[in-house]
């Protein structure tokens, strides 16, 4: 295939699924950059994919129904060692339920807190964190961790330009390496009145934090506020035209240090 030949939809769709590699992948990316109509179509597919994922993933939080757990333990099973393993199973089930359900179970409490003053968009930031941070294969839409240093820098520039264009506010990729966090990449998300963005960072232990960015409803400045919902903590603030929410399971002081590092980098350079 020559470089200026149009990739068909099957190929574009495979590219979106991470199934295209090497020079072919680079060719498609170049094509999409040069052809906004095709890029827009692929973005819609990606949005549908994310919506499907979000729609059905609530099932993962539900406790496993007793009859299904029974189906696993009952069939053709000898009695010996039974009770002990049943206990293990119960603990395992509990573990899965607690781990996955922990954040969502905070739902009712969250609505109550809503009334107490956390803006609605911070809830979207927390949900986006809960949905994407456990992802192993596709934690981000645009990765900045592929290839050598030069191509990573290129990916970073692309990500920053793309998000800036879509959000209509300057999106800077914060450098949190001094705090031990590397940028994984970012994605575009729907907010109430337009696009928002999520940047994902990961430390050496694989722990993740996300930064949610949105264009503020009006130009304002709001101080740091802290909110904790179940296992997740969050600092959020507004600076100029941009609202920020830093979300992660880390303790409050750790999140504060990261939030301060972000706010500091966001200051316009003094001349």
């Amino acid at each position: 295939m020559t470089t200026d030949e149009r990739p068909d939809d099957a190929l574009l769709s495979a590219w979106l699924d991470g199934e295209v590699e090497g020079s072919e992948c680079a060719r498609i990316e170049a094509w999409l950059q040069a052809h906004p109509d095709d890029a827009a179509r692929v973005r819609l597919w990606a949005a549908d994919r994310d919506a499907l994922r979000a729609r059905f993933s609530a099932t993962l939080d539900e406790p496993v129904p007793e009859r299904l757990a029974q189906a696993v333990w009952r069939r053709g099973r000898v009695a010996a060692g039974g009770p002990w393993l049943q206990a293990v199973a119960a603990v395992l089930l509990l573990g899965v339920g607690v781990a996955i359900g922990a954040w969502w179970r905070g739902g009712a409490a969250r609505d109550a807190q809503q009334a107490s003053g956390s803006p609605a968009w911070t809830q979207r930031a927390a949900v986006a964190h809960a949905v994407y941070s456990p992802e192993e294969r596709h934690p981000v839409e645009v990765s900045v961790r592929e290839g050598d240093a030069a191509s990573q820098r290129e990916q970073e520039q692309h990500l920053s330009r793309w998000l800036t264009r879509r959000l209509s506010v300057p999106v800077k990729l914060f450098d949190l390496r001094s705090e031990g966090f590397e940028l994984v990449g970012g994605r575009l998300l729907p907010d109430a009145n337009g696009p928002s963005a999520q940047l994902m960072y990961q430390d050496a232990m694989g722990q993740r934090v996300t930064v949610y960015l949105r264009k503020a409803d009006r130009e304002a400045s709001a101080a740091f506020r802290y909110d904790r919902r179940g296992d997740l903590g969050m600092f959020y603030w507004v600076e100029g035209l941009c609202g920020y929410a830093l979300v992660g399971p880390q303790p409050r002081e750790r999140l504060l240090a990261l939030a301060e590092a972000i706010a500091k980098q966001d200051q316009p350079p003094s001349r």
């Binding site: 939809d9 099957a10 574009l12 769709s13 495979a14 699924d17 199934e19 179509r41 819609l44 597919w45 549908d48 994919r49 919506a51 499907l52 994922r53 979000a54 729609r55 059905f56 993933s57 609530a58 099932t59 993962l60 939080d61 539900e62 496993v64 129904p65 009859r67 299904l68 757990a69 189906a71 696993v72 333990w73 069939r75 053709g76 099973r77 000898v78 060692g81 393993l85 293990v88 199973a89 395992l92 089930l93 899965v96 996955i100 969502w104 739902g107 969250r110 809830q123 979207r124 949900v127 986006a128 949905v131 992802e135 294969r137 596709h138 729907p190």
Partner: protein, 180 residues
């Protein structure tokens, strides 16, 4: 037998993802759990055929796919899901505070209108995040077929969603029913 119990524990671990897939396939949640139960029973009956080096989820999903296929053949009712009913069932299940309600109904209706041949690979790749090779293994079709079906499913889904947005003002959501 020791291996048997290890296997049962592994099987317990994949139930949440198996339920998600069944729910996205069947829409009606009691029917989805029936499918999960059938799948678990078949997996246990054939557990000695499972190669421990393979991914248990992929193996179990392929059993679920076959069980679903059998069910569709046996019971034509399951292959024609009324989209309005499906969305009502989905709403009754609640949850999912992150997605706009209007979008959600359209999405589930649109998904229900895809043929099973398109819906399955789309869900396996998009929601379950399988690779095309894994998806091909689950559905027992060539990788190239996965690629073209996923792409066609995306195009159809988009067409349904765009169409329903356009008709929302004029015909209302009931306009959808006519076509089914």
């Amino acid at each position: 037998m020791q291996a048997d119990d290890v296997f049962r524990q592994q099987l317990l671990g994949v139930i949440p993802r198996l339920r998600r897939y069944a729910r996205s396939l069947v829409f009606d949640s009691p029917a989805a759990d029936d499918l999960v139960q059938t799948t678990l029973e078949r997996a246990l009956a054939h557990w000695h055929q499972f190669d421990q080096r393979r991914d248990l989820l992929v193996w179990v999903l392929s059993i679920a796919h076959n069980a679903h296929l059998d069910q569709r053949r046996r019971d034509a009712r399951l292959s024609v899901v009324d989209p309005e009913r499906a969305s009502a069932d989905q709403d009754a299940q609640g949850g999912d505070p992150g997605v706009d309600v209007g979008l959600r109904i359209d999405l589930v209706q649109a998904l229900a209108r895809l043929s099973p041949e398109q819906r399955e690979p789309l869900l396996l790749v998009s929601v379950e995040q399988l690779t095309y090779a894994e998806c091909a293994e689950v559905l027992r079709i060539p990788v190239g077929t996965v690629m073209s079906r996923v792409s066609r499913a995306r195009a159809s889904l988009r067409q349904f969603l765009d169409g329903s947005e356009r008709s929302a003002g004029a015909a209302g959501p009931r306009g959808l029913r006519r076509v089914i």
